[in-house]
Symmetry: C2
Subunit: 390 residues, 2 copies
Amino acid sequence: MENFNFYSPTYFEFGKDKENNAGKLVKRFGGSKVLIHYGGGSVVRSGLLDRVKTSLNKEKISFVELGGVMPNPRSGLVYEGIDLCRKENVDFILAVGGGSSIDSAKAIAIGVPYEGDFWDFYQGKRIDKALPVATVLTIAAAGSEASLSSVITHENGMVKRGTGSDKIRPVFSILNPALTQTLPPYQTACGATDMFAHVLERYFTNTRNVEITDRLCEGIMLTILSETPKAIANPDDYDARANIMWAGMVAHNDICGVGREQDWGTHQLEHELSALYDVAHGAGLAVMFPAWLKYNQKHDVMRYAQFATRVMGCQMNFENPEITAREGITRFETFLKSIGMPVRFNELGAKKDDIPSLISMLKLNGRTVGSFVKLNEKDIEAIYKLAADN
Amino acid sequence: MENFNFYSPTYFEFGKDKENNAGKLVKRFGGSKVLIHYGGGSVVRSGLLDRVKTSLNKEKISFVELGGVMPNPRSGLVYEGIDLCRKENVDFILAVGGGSSIDSAKAIAIGVPYEGDFWDFYQGKRIDKALPVATVLTIAAAGSEASLSSVITHENGMVKRGTGSDKIRPVFSILNPALTQTLPPYQTACGATDMFAHVLERYFTNTRNVEITDRLCEGIMLTILSETPKAIANPDDYDARANIMWAGMVAHNDICGVGREQDWGTHQLEHELSALYDVAHGAGLAVMFPAWLKYNQKHDVMRYAQFATRVMGCQMNFENPEITAREGITRFETFLKSIGMPVRFNELGAKKDDIPSLISMLKLNGRTVGSFVKLNEKDIEAIYKLAADN
């Protein structure tokens, strides 16, 4: 096991009606003037935004609002949010929504106290300061409600980049699974795929003898496999929604990733896909992960066999573990299809002819991607092609 | 799934040589005058205490010391520590040791800013204030390095009682698995049993449909089953020690317990056992848990069968699940024996004739113990008898 640091200080309130505690929690965590940051009209139509405002009013906490966050959140709204916060002396950012609203809120939080361009932090600058961020989560997926990361697409060139720091871990997050019951099946499946991918990025590692994080990874993946079909068959299944929502958190606060080299290559390949076609991140991952798995399977057949047997329920073929390894990938792809996910370029609206553009967007300049297998340009081309071929 | 709050804000540094960061971390978390609190001579002999002092000196942080914590830590030393901290204006408690040193440190931390008797908090008073506590862990077991709880034995009557609050969650914990390589097999096994028990107390629940915490529980138990025999066979197996050490944390920071009713009855029954005979907590649990499991198995055969198949590797008997349920208990008891744990009163030095004393020490006054099955006095007597019978 490798040395590691682990820090997941977010305070969680999880369950029915918990959004009504937002005001009390903002107060407890020191906010006096809040920016409520959200996406489209659904948080307005559902009455959620009103409930949050009521709870802030109850605690006599003033606030301003900024809606309009889009999937794959953009830099333009971040700049707007930073200006608004400065003008209104906002000292606390409350994201109400899914990963996009939270990521956008995190970007605003680091931008407000910084004199330069917030985009600097998405190009490698170290984050030293940020306003406190908190969340009321409405989509189980990205794990952004506990994670240290934020991904933003810059409108100048549609470049999608991420940053990370303990300074932007939410101080509190409110998770009410009932809020996710209105999510359509496609978005539910995208979320489940995203969290499954967060685990896979940690699971396929060259580090040996990290049984505890292996087992935690497997437990989370087994949960997603069992609960997602329930939530899709019956969107009002509160318990399935609850299991998925908490799985999304533990899939990405790094409790299932410590002590091991992590990969994150597939996320990089997918980022370019969703930046170019503006498709849902989860859908892009559903296309890219089977391809990544297929391409790299010879690198560590026994790890693939472990995934196949412990997670995908395959029988181990002791005479020919490669068969088990392949069967695991097939079953994973079958699972993705069964929950309505695309698994090839054409289902996503992506084009094989764009592969050179995708590769050039990665700006490789000789660097490799990932760590399980360090992928060079040729490898990446082959993986995109596997994802494109029907 | 039930509503819950989850908060585990401790910052962890995990791995080789991490104790040399103690000074830096005390500084980061605002300590300026430290009480180093520890147990016996082993932290002195091993040079660990010196390394911690060197790292404090390097950061120009002054400190006082108080050693002498015993297993099942006593009130006397807590009073002494409180006096010392007040006299020396200590503002930060650093425990160097295992669960006993940490629990004692937590008791001192709540006692210093409180005008009354610290024991009030162990009799139900709510904790509002405490000095920050941090730990350098030397024994993987109790989970006290991340938990909100502390158990102290009052010398007046040898009463063992617990308390808990987020205020006494360690602000940081340093976990170096190499420090546990000198632990003898018996103590290693006691620690593993304690953490396994922390999971079982959460696993046997009446709450339905909490797949995510079920799966996390199972992952932790599977890890303990696979890694403990390795650490006992080869005490220098760093990876086995590391897996066990981190398993101890996740077994008790409640990540595997949220959203469900928890039991904790066996811990109460064991507390009286270790208070009366001053035996290791883990050894007491090894005697009490199989008895508790046997007594309650008819309450939920399918949950026992799930434990048996998913954790203990039994084949499910679909025609007669009771057989699978029983087989799971048998295999668990066999595992405990295999790592050198006692499983009956006589192996522990406990006496069947003392059962009435044990029961009277519980001060039931009509209350029941536990929640999976609410145990009355008659049930408890039967469980102690099962533990006593060879």
